[in-house]
Symmetry: D2
Subunit: 337 residues, 4 copies
């Protein structure tokens, strides 16, 4: 950490700061510039946790140098993490495709879709059983019944399964039926839920919050990993900006940024990011070209009558075509699909 003093800080003010830091057992290094004095602080910052140094006289600002996340930080774990789920490994060698309906609606619907996405080459079927909806009057999901259908789809088609969880009770139920938990964008800083997901020991897909910075996202991952569960996969799904032509703004630069800062895998969800099915294929290809470890894509047997997010769902034939086109992009990325 660096402490920047105000231009006119007298020597006594600088001494007050350095004395306080040294009392706590840390070292200080002074750098007296022509305009300002800066103080480098060396040692365990946690010893200063109940000192608000910015409030000391003549302190201008603190500049943090090291990140607050450790376990999700590439600096301390340079090799890319591979997350094993069922018979599949998410990581640098594969392109993981999670496809399925936004919401599980009926057994028949889910089985029809699962068969189609399996045939097209997906390794996971996704399907929402607990739906966080903006309005309380929208369809809220089948809950445990939906999870049971997911388990059936797994059994029938050999697909891995992933489901969003929105409460401790949902985690407990999901643990009985599916292979991987999803924490949605709206819950990325529901720290209670993150801890429970960590304690479950299950692999977790952590979506980026609607207005979360990359640093906040990696800190959210840290909540899960610090419970002893390193099986975390990140998912970029669009951030909130002023632009309204798409539902959110897909931030594909997050992929190279995450590669630089973290060892965790990262996949991309172009369906929720854009909200428009015809924008999904070009952005899916872009995500793979950009280095994504996988894609989450909404597919529906009858988008015109989907109970949730129909306008952004691919039909079976759109999805087939996309999967065919992705073959070449996957090879160029040095992965297998």
């Amino acid at each position: 950490m660096i402490i920047v003093m105000k231009p006119n800080a007298p020597k006594e003010a600088v001494k007050q700061v350095t004395d306080l830091i040294q009392e706590k057992g840390l070292e200080t290094h002074l750098s007296e510039g022509r305009q300002v004095t800066i103080i480098g602080v060396v040692g365990d910052k946690n010893k200063l946790c109940n000192e608000n140094l910015t409030l000391l006289p003549y302190v201008d600002k603190l500049v943090p140098i090291t990140e607050s996340y450790k376990l999700s930080n590439k600096k301390f774990h340079p090799e890319p993490t591979r997350v094993k789920v069922g018979n599949h490994e998410i990581g640098p060698d594969t392109l993981t495709i999670m496809a399925g309906p936004c919401a599980v609606e009926t057994e028949e619907q889910l089985m029809t879709i699962a068969r189609a996405v399996k045939k097209a080459g997906a390794q996971f079927v996704r399907g929402g059983a607990y739906k966080p909806r903006t309005s309380p009057y929208s369809f809220q999901g089948l809950e445990e019944e939906g999870l049971r259908y997911m388990a059936e789809a797994k059994k029938e088609f050999g697909l891995n399964t992933i489901c969003e969880v929105i409460s401790e009770a949902a985690i407990e139920a999901a643990a009985k039926y599916v292979d991987m938990l999803q924490i949605g964008a709206r819950n990325m800083q529901n720290f209670q839920l993150l801890r429970e997901a960590g304690r479950s020991g299950m692999p977790v897909l952590l979506k980026r919050g609607l207005a979360a910075t990359v640093d906040e996202w990696l800190n959210a991952a840290e909540y899960i990993i610090s419970e002893g569960n390193p099986r975390v996969v990140l998912c970029e799904r669009g951030i909130r900006t002023y632009e309204t032509a798409t539902r959110n703004t897909l931030d594909l630069s997050a992929i190279p940024v995450i590669r630089e800062k973290s060892h965790l895998p990262i996949i991309v969800d172009p369906s929720h990011a854009t909200g428009v099915f015809s924008y999904v294929p070009p952005l899916a290809k872009a995500a793979v070209a950009c280095g994504a470890d996988g894609l989450m894509i909404e597919v529906h047997n009858d988008p015109e009558h989907a109970l949730s997010d129909g306008p952004q769902s691919l039909t079976f034939s759109n999805f087939d075509q996309l999967m065919n086109e992705l073959q070449a992009y996957t090879r160029l990325a040095g992965r297998t699909l």
Copy 2:
């Protein structure tokens, strides 16, 4: 709802849309312009909930006309709501001041601060017992112990008490000790928590999400009210923008906007919005001048050693001075403090 057709939509495409809507028992009104045809839809939109009309051929876009929130909507409830909490009423006649530390740290700390804010004129003491922190390594709160101190402060000083809750368990605990629940910005769309808060029957302060629109905020309130609990107070606390000179950007225009759309009271938290104690007094006065029903302000006996958010906390003397200055603004606003 209005359906806008694409410029070249043939008559059959228009008919397909109107037929479908009429089959569901709603009326349609055609408006054939020179460039486009638009279709007005009259009737209960819920009958269309599993039709994704944007996916019909030649449909350009849907334009919603009515809001999805009803119980929090001023159109159906024109009189301003007054929320009674303990011996105090939050609403158009009063200026409600909630003051106290970001986090309850010790019994002594809380009692010292409660005495000071009471003396300065606050009607509520606030204090966090469950702290949602970006990093898992930051101080997370005293939990139930903190709530007990809050109950003591209430007993000792006759203050109303408010505490943030972050889980169902926290709601149950808080219900035993404090007068009002707070849902924090990060949990504004934790729909599970909103429902539990609704079921508790307790008054709820609902902070605006970091990147929530006013409409999403009122829909979140709708989750609470639709559980049969109309005692909701909104709290503007800054939104996330590109500007980094303040922690968030306080959106005071949300006050007149809420006045136009909703009957719920709205208070303002300038401490979390700015993150800088010296910006709090001018923005507190601005909030009152703008029509806010109250303020939530962080006050600490020793900001330099606060375990959370010290840099944005007022000292006792800063708070005293602000309360004095607020007297005149309160009178101009036609309120009592």
Copy 3:
């Protein structure tokens, strides 16, 4: 245009609106819903330009149906536009590569870089002679001298040339030396400059403003085209968001959005969007996979000593490698490079 009346609007208020519109020679279509009445307006909206209908009693809001841009609108010009520049055509069949230094520094520097980018396969050399810099104390460009070096590079290597212009005088000078004008992000709504660029008759690369919506961008293009100059190419270069891990947030979904709304070509500048050279290659490949008509990429012979934007510039060897990798992506996109 649609006019939405407030829920309690009396018949007289509706009549006042429809009478006014009909007096101006337009038609109205009424749609009386259970909650609200809406009025469809058919005819030339310009006849209403000095009526502020939202201010009439009981009017809730106006909903525009048609876009304000016409000449840049795909609805009235469904075929993709091809912009011929020198010996090259920018459009759906080619991948256009514009590469070079942020700022022209010396004759030798520019010639060295031009030779390298030509050899690697670029069709354009880019180079700034007029630099809009945030601080007045940063390097501001060589002005006309820089343009002369650009003309030399064209002559020597057969490259097309493009240069940013920031004033009418710069347009006049640039017209003498280079093949294509660039309007920078900060000037996207400098309407005076847009008109002058339109009058010049030269091909214009129009960068998206830092906080411009797609609609504002197409309206800016409309300023140029409405001066009789249809040779406009759009350039996505990142928008301003709350995320600070990259300089701006590259919005690749703008590519499919523009494809749906406009016939103009669109290229992508990943160098300015990210500000970090190592993020440029993955995002360049993503842009091509997403359907971009070209790329603008900063290349420098000595990034460590570049006078402007060194950290985001590729070295010759980085650029060579990227161009090699792009070959396969170009073929997949059905284009030639």
Copy 4:
């Protein structure tokens, strides 16, 4: 400036950086932490302007310590600046009110409005003669004819006058007719225009750009002042965010932020910020309570037929009432109106 090295930086890499800096005649101070080494740089940073230090091996990032703006910086000019315009001084003692139509439409319209705002207590009449409009098909202003009417209003009512300029030609014309130039939000980084405004020697109202940070805004002011013209007044007018309930989001916290960083006066334009006339009075009062040096408010004799921005204009009677209400707020702020 501080240079932060990567965790594993070898001693030679640190030496390469310090050697380079010392060769350029600056001093370095090393701070070797347990995880990272940081290098403080002391001396004239301009000597390093063509060294991109982030590109040296093992450099993690640069942290600037001092602001790039000097002349607009409070650190070097602690006293608040007072800007004299005609018979009036803008600064800490007065509340300056600039009121009038968005666009000058006719001589009669302007004179009618000028009479009304003078009577209500405004010291300035504002009126646009050159209108920067999103669409080229919207009304673009009366240009010099409009300026002549402004001069007449000044003569007739003793009002000071202010007019937006959008080009060098407009500055020359405006200098003949009005007292103060306005640079609009869209031109805040039109550096050519800023320089011309600086050279004109006239007082300049500099609106904040739609997506400008406070630092970029003060750098824009620096362009004007560095031409020898210190008569700059800032104007906060709303920034672009994701919220659509208001046209932009008025950032009133910019007032205390500017007070901390700069000596320049700052006024607020709630009309453009919100786009809705009924939101203007509460936000105008809030701005004064927050410490603004003045207000710019749109007033129109017939908002229903205004050629530009009617929906956000106050009628004469709304404006009268606001001016009456502002009296008490002005006194509380220790100013005179």
